[in-house]
Each structure stands twice: as C-alpha cells, then as structure tokens.
C-alpha cells in the first residue's frame, strides 16, 4: 500500500515562498468570503469594517454575521488537514483520512443520538444546542477507540487500519440511517444538514472554542516534526535512530482524533479535506514535516473557505452544504490518486 513516490525527497528550495503565497491566498479568500453574500461588500469596505471604521451597517454584517462563519470554516479546514497529515504520517499511508477511519461517522452517531434522546414530543430540544458539539466529540472518540482497540488486538499494519476503519464507519453510518428513519422527519432533516457538513450556523463562541482547542495542540505539534521525519523511514531503521516507533505512532493518532473531533463537532462531516490537503501540500512543499504541517493547515483552510464560497454562490439564494462541495471536488481527485497509485505499482 505504501507509495514509493511518497517518500522520495525532492529538494524544494522555494518552499518559504510557497508558504507565503498560500498565506496571502488565504487572506484574499477571507476578504472575499466576508464580502460574498446577499449583499456584496467590496474588499475595501470589508477591510474598513474589520478595523472598526466604515459604515455601521457594514460593521454589523461583517462582525456578527460573516466573520464568525469565515473564521470557523478556516479553523475547521486547518484542523481537518492537520489531522489528515498526522494520520497519513502515522500510518505511512497517503490514503488514510479522518473520514475513512470512522471518526466522522462516529461523531455523526453522537449528534444524531443527541438530537433524538434530548427532544420532547413537540420536537423541541430539552437541553441547550450548545451541548451538541460535546455529543459529537464523544461519538468521535468512542468510535475512534473502537477502531484503535480492534487494531491493537489485531496487531496488523496500516492496511488493516483502513479495513477496520471502513468497517466501523459502515457500522456507524448504518446506525445513523437507523436513527434517522426511526425519528420524526423534522429531526431527520436537522440531522442530515449536520451530516452534510456546514458552517452556516457559526457563533463567536464556536470560533473561540475551536481556536482554543487548536492553540492547545500547538505546543505538541511543534515538538512532533523531527519524530515525524524519522517515521518516514521503515520501522526498524526509525527505531535505530532512537525513536520509540509504537508510542510515537500512538501520539500521532491521538492528535489526529483530537483535531478531527474538534473540527467535526462544530461543522459536521466536511469530507475529503483531511485527505486532499496533505496530498496537495506534499506536492507543493515536500515531505519535511515542519513545513508539511504548516502548509497542510493553510491548504486545508483555503479548501474549506473556497468550498464555502462556492456553496453560497452556486445556487443562491439557496445554500448548499459545504461538505457536499468538498466531496464533489475531493472524491474525483481522490479516485485519481487511487488509480495513479495502483498503476505506479504495476
């Protein structure tokens, strides 16, 4: 399964410029994403409103309506991409991703269960909707632990990881379908909207929470690059360079679950970002772990922001689920990688 070209180390002398370009692109997209909507705001008006100048109306639109959504999309994209990057390194498998490993479907089970358990006859929630992310996180962690437990019992390699992940994801999505069918239609549509992945209900509190979770993970992420580079070697060689391979792999997987759960809890199943962002990043900046992580986070944020802009514009005034847009772009790209990888083995 492991891709021979995955480990080739081409020199990417220009990588700092790539990172700068990505950052600039992200900034431009943020301005655009704030501007796009039922009333179009030009970038200069957006900039003015952001620094507290400009018209009062613009300030309200930008600061209470659009900015939280844009920031949430960028943060979620960064989290998912980082999680994917860590997973792909830990499993040495460029095809691993949070959604293949049952984490996203697990979170979905948590959310759907939450919606059904805590609603009364009148279809009103009996507890605050702000607990929903907690339910999602619980579901993600539970299902990730099931996958982890099965792999640990099995002792198999990265390939078995995907097999178990897909199996557990299938179980989780069967449970979700079941709960949706059993519940009232109103709840079903609410659950389906969440499942499709969307950032349209962003609140500042969500933005702060994810930002906090992301910042919490930064010190650990900053410590990881050296070990991640060692992990590119095979297990035995990595061990002789002084790396505790098994425990490092466990740390990477835990971080991946943590980051995925943080993002998915708030934005739902935004698919394929965790898979494709690291892949694109590798093409742009190469393998060295430090820039790989940094680049992945930027690319992930860019992808989700761009997808959200498309989701808002494509069928305006209707809004598509952001996750549907990333899947439409991501799935064909992933199939392309899959076919190319298989052919390169022949």
């Amino acid at each position: 399964m492991t891709d021979a070209t995955y480990f080739s180390t081409r020199s990417r002398a220009g990588w700092p410029w790539v990172i700068v370009t990505l950052a600039v692109l992200l900034f431009v997209l943020v301005l655009l994403a704030i501007g796009v909507g039922s009333s179009w705001l030009s970038p200069e008006r957006v900039l003015l409103a952001l620094i507290g100048e400009g018209e009062r109306m613009d300030q309200v639109i930008v600061q209470t309506l659009r900015l939280p959504r844009v920031l949430l999309a960028a943060e979620a994209g960064a989290c998912l991409a980082l999680a994917g990057a860590l997973l792909q390194r830990a499993t040495r498998n460029p095809l691993a991703s949070p959604s293949v490993l049952g984490i996203v479907d697990g979170a979905a089970v948590g959310v759907v269960l939450f919606l059904f358990v805590f609603s009364n006859e009148a279809n009103a929630l009996t507890v605050s909707i702000h607990y929903q992310p907690l339910a999602a996180a619980t579901g993600a962690v539970v299902f990730a632990s099931i996958v982890a437990l099965l792999i640990w019992l099995d002792g198999g390699g990265p390939t078995r990881l995907i097999v178990y992940g897909v199996a557990i994801a299938a179980l989780a999505s069967a449970l979700v379908t079941l709960l949706i069918v059993l519940g009232p239609v109103y709840r079903a549509s609410q659950a389906l909207i969440w499942l499709a992945g969307s950032v349209h209900q962003a609140h500042w509190s969500d933005v702060y929470t994810i930002a906090g979770l992301l910042i919490l993970s930064l010190p650990l992420l900053a410590l990881l690059p050296r070990a991640m580079d060692q992990l590119l070697l095979d297990d035995d060689t990595a061990a002789t360079t002084g790396l505790a391979v098994a425990s490092m792999r466990a740390v990477l997987l835990l971080m991946a679950v943590y980051l995925t759960a943080s993002a998915v809890s708030f934005v739902g199943g935004i698919a394929f970002v965790g898979l494709i962002a690291p892949h694109l990043t590798r093409l742009l900046v190469g393998h060295s772990a430090g820039r790989f992580l940094l680049g992945s986070a930027l690319v992930g944020a860019i992808i989700v922001l761009a997808a959200d802009i498309i989701a808002r514009l494509a069928l305006a005034p209707l809004e598509l689920p952001t996750g549907a847009v990333t899947a439409l772009v991501g799935a064909p790209y992933f199939l392309f990688i899959l076919i190319r990888q298989a052919r390169s083995h022949a």
Binding site: I162, V185, L338
Partner: protein, 339 residues
C-alpha cells in the same frame, strides 16, 4: 480453512439441513406476528383460497413479505459472496461498494426532478442507479489495472458512495419535499412492497442465480491469485467481469424490491464460509440459504421488537450484524486468501 472437517458429503448434508431450517423459518414467518395463527389456518389460507380475515392476511400480507425476504436475502448474499471472492476482499458487499448510494441518488432524482411517485417506476430507477454506481466502482477498479489491491477497491467504493451521497444532499437542499419520500424509501423492508416488483424481479434473480453456478470452478481458482489463475487457463478478466456483472444485477434488483437492506450481503457469505468448504459450488447455495434465513428471521423479529408497531428491518439487521461483523473481523478466518 476447515479442510479437515469438510468433505463433499458433509457439505451437502449441511446444505440439506439449512434448507430444512429455511423451510421451518418461512413457515414460522407465516404463523407469527401481531396475530398468531394455527397451522391448520395457514394451510387453509394457502390451499383452500378461503375468504376469511385470516386467510386474506396470510395470503396478501404474510406470504408476500416472506417470499420477498427469501428472494432478496438470497440475492444479496450471493451478490456479496461474488463481490468478496472476485475482489478477494472480506469487506466487499453491495452496501459498501456504493449500491445503496447509487440507488438513493436515482430515487431522489426521480422524485425531485421528474416528479415520479409510482413505486414501480422508482424501483426501476433504484435498480438503474445501483447498477450505474457498481459499474462506476468496478470501472475504476479495472481501469487501474491488475495491481489494484482489495483495500483500493474498498476505498474506491467508499469514495464513489460519498460522491453520490453529496449529489443526493444537493438535490435534497434544493427540494425539501422529497425528504419524506426518501425517508420512507431509505428504511428498506419486505412488507407492503408492490407484488408486481417481485413478479419481475424474482425471475430475474433466479436467472442470475443460475448463471452464477457455472462460474464456481473458475471463482475457486481466482481465489489464489491472478497469475496462478491465468496459468491454470482461467480467463481472469472475463470471469471477473461476468461475476461482478451478475453481482451488480442481483444487488440492483434486490435494492429495487426492498430498498437498502444492509449487512446481509456482508455477513451471509462469511457465515456460509464457516459452515461449508471454501469451494464455490457449495458456497454459493450455502450463502443464498444463509441470506434468505437471515432476512426471514430479521423480518419476524421486526414484527415483535416494537410491537404493535413494526421496526425497520434495517434496524434489526444492524442489531444482529454489528456484533457478528466484529466477531468476524476479529477471527483470522476473515482473511479470504489461503496463505
């Protein structure tokens, strides 16, 4: 795999035993439910064409759902077996490889774009969608050449399913009224399905089933690896295409009769492998019998779980299927290839 215990006579004895169990289960399915009937009432209803209430219930409700379960269960199991054998993948199954996602997308498109409401027309659409999705997955598999590993097939299936699901979501966003019809269709089940579907689908499934049997020897050889199979004179690509085509047809017809019924295609082949020798000549009938039995038992359970209501068969199958799948995954027998 269990070679010491299974001899041909042993296998056929097991199959005969399973057939008896299946007949018993089908008979039980006619008797049990919200109202229980005595054997003489059932016989009277079946053979004497009585116009009494119980006669009508048994003939028009119990009998159709029993036959539906039997046919669909068997078809899904054989479809799953073919997919698992051809892709050498213990997790291949109609549901995992995008069949249900394709059918769901076709149904949603039919409901929303063309305003189709007749269940028969929707069933046709579902079959077409299922076929198209499977063709897409296997087209990708084949286009990538011979080094496509089982995990690749799995990932291709999951990805295509995700792609189709996102199209479904987009249609649902643009037309919320289709949601309710979709939910009805999503639940899957054997009761209250138009008999016309069975009249068309049943014979088609029978034909596909008979067409599968001659492939048994070639499938056995294919289980080793492509090169050995080729050198033994098996036309690998042609057999693979034929088997996958039949698997897709079986799954497509099943989904059009009963909606998405999960887990049977995944689990029944594995149970069959535990019961008989790993030779397709006995595996195919064994899997069909196990699938039919699972479907009938799940259907009977569905009548009791939330009585007087009726639980979705999918729910019951998930309840049975989840633990079984985990046990299967844990046991090393899940590995298909003899190493």
């Amino acid at each position: 795999m269990m070679a010491a215990r299974s001899s041909p006579t042993h296998d056929w004895r097991v199959i005969a035993g399973m057939m008896l169990c299946l007949i018993a289960a089908a008979a039980a399915s006619l008797h049990l439910g919200l109202r229980h009937y005595a054997p003489w009432q059932v016989i009277d209803a079946l053979f004497n064409d009585s116009q009494s209430t119980e006669g009508l219930i048994i003939r028009t409700l119990r009998l159709p759902r029993t036959v539906n379960a039997l046919v669909v269960g068997a078809a899904l199991a054989v479809s799953g077996l073919l997919m698992q054998s051809v892709t050498r993948n213990p997790l291949a199954a109609p549901g995992v490889l995008g069949v249900n996602a394709g059918a769901a997308l076709a149904v949603v498109l039919g409901l929303s774009l063309f305003g189709i409401v007749s269940l028969t027309a929707l069933a046709g659409l579902a079959a077409a969608g299922a076929l198209a999705a499977t063709t897409l997955v296997f087209g990708i598999t084949l286009s990538a050449g011979r080094s496509f590993s089982p995990v690749h097939v799995l990932l291709a299936g999951v990805t295509v399913a995700a792609l189709l699901a996102s199209f479904t979501q987009i249609v649902l966003v643009t037309d919320e009224s289709t949601m309710e019809s979709l939910l009805f269709w999503l639940s899957g089940g054997f009761a209250d399905r138009p008999l016309r579907l069975l009249a068309i689908g049943g014979p088609a499934i029978a034909v596909a089933f008979i067409a599968v049997l001659p492939l048994a020897r070639a499938l056995d050889v294919l289980m080793t690896d492509d090169d050995s199979a080729q050198s033994l004179g098996v036309p690998v690509l042609r057999i693979r295409l034929a088997a996958l085509g039949l698997a897709a047809v079986l799954a497509g017809i099943s989904v059009s009769i009963a909606g998405p019924v999960v887990f049977i295609g995944l689990i029944a082949p594995h149970i069959a492998r535990h019961l008989v020798a790993p030779a397709h000549a006995v595996l195919i009938p064994a899997a069909a019998l196990v699938g039919a039995m699972l479907a009938i038992l799940a259907d009977i359970l569905a009548r009791y779980l939330v009585a007087p209501g009726e639980a979705p068969v999918g729910a019951v199958l998930a309840l049975i299927g989840v633990p079984v799948l985990i046990i299967l995954l844990r046991s090393r027998r899940m590995v298909l290839q003899r190493r």
